[in-house]
Amino acid sequence: MYKIIVGLITGLLFGLGMNISQMVDPNKVLNFLDVFGAWDASLAFVIGGALLVFTPFYHLIIKPRGRAINGDEYRCVPTNQAITKRLIGGSVLFGIGWGMVGICPGPAVASLLRGEAAIYWFLLSMLLGHYLSKRLFSRA
């Protein structure tokens, strides 16, 4: 129950952040990525704002505790520190898809209730991509 309530609160905050920052607007995202065109720097402020809160919170409060408040281990600490071909190749593929439509996983979820077919097609094919890569590429 505890984890569900935490999920609800943090999910709502995350969705509010996505909407208020206008990260859910593909045109806004594409204008940010269009560095050689009519560049809109706003999304740099989204990432900056997020890091402004998360970075001190992580280093001053989360990391020194060693464990989450409910006793769980932190799931973010990577076991694999290496810069691999898998990491680079995956990031290139993600960049291609993101640059094509201006939608990444967060904004897609935050736009679910808008009922637009394009969002459903994007999410369905993204989940298919997750499924396929789990089947085709075993954990490196």
Binding site: I4, I61, N70, G99, P105, G106, V109
Partner: protein, 142 residues
């Protein structure tokens, strides 16, 4: 520069940072959206309820922002094949790279993880190139 909105961007970004901080502090989980969704395949059953709650509340956030007058985006009129190809690339790519803009771009960079800093640089540069090239070619539309 077109339609620059630094204050709403900063406020929204700080909410994302607060969300990621609280999720990690309270439950030990990373607010990486591709991970929350992609983990559906093969995740332990005990991991499902909080993920569904997170995704549901995230989707429901528009019910709060729309009465506040936060503008509703109009999606570009891409062809279905273009959208599906992009979705597949994002799905496979984020799974291989273990993260997207939220997992690597916020949580990873905030932890000073070299992997995340490299991943974020690579997907940002790739996406900017794709935007430049597809704008030049006029690609993707119906």
């Amino acid at each position: 520069m077109s339609n620059f909105t630094p204050w709403s961007a900063l406020l929204g970004g700080m909410l994302l940072g607060l969300s990621a901080s609280l999720l990690l502090l309270l439950s030990g989980r990373t607010a990486g959206i591709s991970g929350v969704l992609g983990g559906i395949f093969g995740a332990a059953k005990s991991e499902w309820p909080w993920r569904v709650a997170f995704v549901g509340a995230m989707a429901a956030s528009v019910l709060v922002t729309q009465p506040l007058g936060v503008s509703v985006p109009v999606l570009p009129n891409y062809s279905l094949a273009w959208i599906v190809f992009a979705g597949l690339a994002v799905g496979v790519g984020t799974q291989l790279a273990n993260g997207c803009t939220s997992g690597h771009g916020i949580c990873g960079i905030g932890r000073f993880s070299p992997r995340s800093i490299v991943a974020t640089g690579v997907f940002m540069i790739t996406a900017a190139l794709v935007v430049g090239v597809s704008a030049y070619l006029g690609a993707g539309y119906v």
